[in-house]
């Protein structure tokens, strides 16, 4: 019993509990505007977690997460605007996630059953993203309507409605808790899945595909499933983002937008969801501050972080920090 409690008392868990408590009490400290900024941070953190799952756990490198996110947001926007009823919007969210999971599964089927792996998955998802962005960019004309909703070209969809739960429209504070709870659920599911059989098979695939196959794992099937789930998570993040900002545009689908969460996951620690969450919130918090100063050096800093972390701390900043701290505490105890 004592050993078990000690095993739970890692620096990773402590940090997580601190973050959880901070997140719960945050609404009493800040005003509504700042609070809604945090809803934005949380939805982008979910996007980053989708990459932790697919890249960190399963070793599949996807460069198209922003495209999946954006497409999910487009689907939600079209459905909710076309329906025009607040009560329907939560179903629009679910439908968007399910459609995107199906699409992710279809794309993954072509890739993984075709024997496409490693760098080529990155390239195909990237090409998918670029093609989708180009497509959405040229939909300005009248003829581009889905369910009577105009896609709007480079301006994108605007006026995307808020979500209602039980006949109650989610305002700033309620929406904050909505995203917060979803984030915690996604985080918990991803962390828990690591110690299930499914998680073990993902690790096996990541470490060595051909050996896992010889041990009887159906590698392409597992890859398709995990890719579909990750696509669904990205779409979920997109829906939350579009509800937060009430718009979605082709710019949100761009390669740079796909790269930021990759940077976050790689820098924080790609195999560790806690590190991802911590780094993501920190990153969006700081970049919100930086954006206020309007720095054109943003991308240069982003690129430099990426290079330095991958060259010198390949396991990621916070992952390494967690294990260092644990070792230090153990030695002292």
């Amino acid at each position: 019993m004592k050993d078990k409690s000690k095993a739970l008392l890692t620096s990773e868990n402590i940090i997580f509990v601190v973050l959880l408590l901070l997140g719960l009490v945050l609404p009493t400290f800040t005003n509504a505007y700042r609070l809604s900024q945090y809803s934005y941070y949380y939805s982008m953190t979910i996007l980053a977690l989708s990459i932790t799952l697919v890249w960190g756990y399963a070793g599949i490198f996807s460069f198209g997460q922003a495209a999946f996110m954006g497409l999910g947001a487009y689907i939600y926007g079209i459905l909710s605007i076309a329906a025009g009823r607040d009560g329907f919007n939560i179903f629009a969210l679910l439908i968007a996630v399910v459609i995107m999971m199906a699409l992710g599964a279809a794309l993954a089927y072509f890739m993984f059953y075709g024997g496409v792996n490693d760098v080529f998955v990155g390239l195909i998802t990237m090409c998918f993203g670029i093609a989708l962005q180009t497509f959405m960019g040229q939909t300005a004309g009248e003829e581009w309507q889905v369910l009577g909703v105009r896609l709007g070209g480079y301006n994108g969809l605007t006026g995307i409605p808020k979500i209602s739960l039980f006949g109650f429209k989610l305002g700033d504070v309620a929406f904050y808790f909505f995203t917060f709870i979803i984030l915690i659920l996604v985080y918990a599911a991803i962390r828990y899945s690591k110690i299930t059989n499914a998680g073990y098979s993902l690790t096996a695939i990541r470490e060595n595909r051909s050996r896992s196959e010889l041990f009887g794992f159906d590698v392409p099937k597992i890859q398709v499933i995990v890719f579909a789930i990750s696509t669904g998570l990205a779409a979920l993040a997109g829906v939350l983002y579009s509800v937060w900002g009430s718009y979605i545009a082709p710019d949100n689908l761009s390669m740079t937008q796909s790269t930021i969460p990759v940077v976050i996951v790689a820098s924080g620690g790609r195999k560790n969801p806690t590190a991802t969450v911590l780094f993501a919130i920190l990153y969006y918090f700081l970049s919100g501050k930086l954006a206020a100063s309007g720095s054109s050096l943003n991308y240069i800093i982003l690129g430099a972080i990426l290079i330095v972390v991958l060259l010198f701390i390949p396991e990621g900043l916070f992952s390494t920090l967690f294990s260092k701290m644990d070792k230090y505490i153990l030695r002292r105890a």
Partner: protein, 291 residues
């Protein structure tokens, strides 16, 4: 007759574009297993160097292209020696790191040189067949693409360097134990790849706007060509440029350049599903069957 020529012209145009944009990327991938995400940005640098040399310093256009390509090649060499050589055994990480490099390059150029430079007007004018005008320069580019391919083929198949480079590509450990300096081979390969990227940029600089983001307009086509081409850099990029050139030019002519791009992507995904090793893998299999 004129109709046939128009189709041929569009095909050759898109064939040479695909071949030139993909060749450098494909050589680096085939030899080193590294996907250089900064490839498009190297092309952009080549275009910038060429435009600056020829507009600001009044160096003749052809020499500017060549100098620009050499400068880009040396920059690639520098990046290889400082950053990429640490990632030879981690190809997946190299995608992320080279993407970081591409961010720095395009934003750095934007900060240093502003949003665009004075462009060069397309040289050589045009020729007329029937009553339609065609650009002479585009046809020269086709010739240049074919010559470049032949030179690269010669280098890799008929020189001592090429022999050592191919040995390194097939079994680097055995090549090493036979006294080949594999690190040097990798560095030289990366130089050649970057040189070809710079050359492409220089050649296409008069035909498009020279802006910091122009790299991305090469990237997708180049990657798709490499995916379809497979592991043999020279044969693969030649055959897949030809194949994709037909798809791209016909679709673009029929439904606009956007349809051409989407067609390339769909073609690549389906093709890789049917034959995962690309065109060069298909050729290898056919050879094996014949024996």
């Amino acid at each position: 007759m004129i109709l046939v020529f128009r189709h041929l012209y569009l095909f050759l145009d898109s064939f040479s574009f695909l071949l030139l944009s993909a060749l450098g990327l494909s050589i680096i991938y085939g030899m080193m297993g590294i996907i250089n995400q900064a490839h498009g940005e190297f092309i952009m640098l080549g275009a910038y160097f060429t435009s600056l040399l020829s507009v600001a310093l009044h160096i003749p256009f052809i020499i500017s292209i060549f100098l620009g390509a050499i400068l880009t090649g040396f920059l690639g060499l520098l990046l290889d020696r400082t950053i990429i050589c640490r990632l030879y055994s981690r190809p997946l990480d190299s995608i992320v790191v080279t993407w970081g490099i591409s961010l720095i390059l395009s934003q750095g150029i934007r900060i240093i040189l502003g949003n665009s430079v004075e462009s060069i007007s397309t040289p050589l004018g045009s020729f007329t067949i029937g009553n339609e005008k065609f650009s002479t320069y585009r046809m020269v580019l086709v010739a240049v693409a074919v010559i470049t391919l032949m030179v690269v083929y010669y280098i890799f198949n008929h020189t001592e360097f090429g022999l050592k480079a191919r040995a390194t590509m097939q079994r680097s450990d055995i090549a090493k134990s036979l006294g080949v300096n594999t690190d040097k081979m990798y560095a030289a390969t990366f130089f050649i790849g970057s040189f070809l990227a710079g050359l492409t940029g220089g050649l296409y600089s008069p035909t498009m706007m020279v802006v910091p983001t122009m790299g991305t307009s090469f990237n997708m086509q180049a990657f798709v060509t490499v995916i379809v081409g497979g592991s043999n850099p020279i044969l693969g990029s030649f055959l897949s440029s030809a194949l994709l050139g037909i798809v791209n030019s016909e679709l673009s002519g029929w439904a606009g350049s956007f349809a051409g791009q989407i067609g390339l992507l769909i073609m690549a995904i389906i093709f890789i599903r049917i034959c995962p090793l690309g065109v060069s893998g298909l050729v290898d299999r056919l050879k094996a069957v014949r024996r």
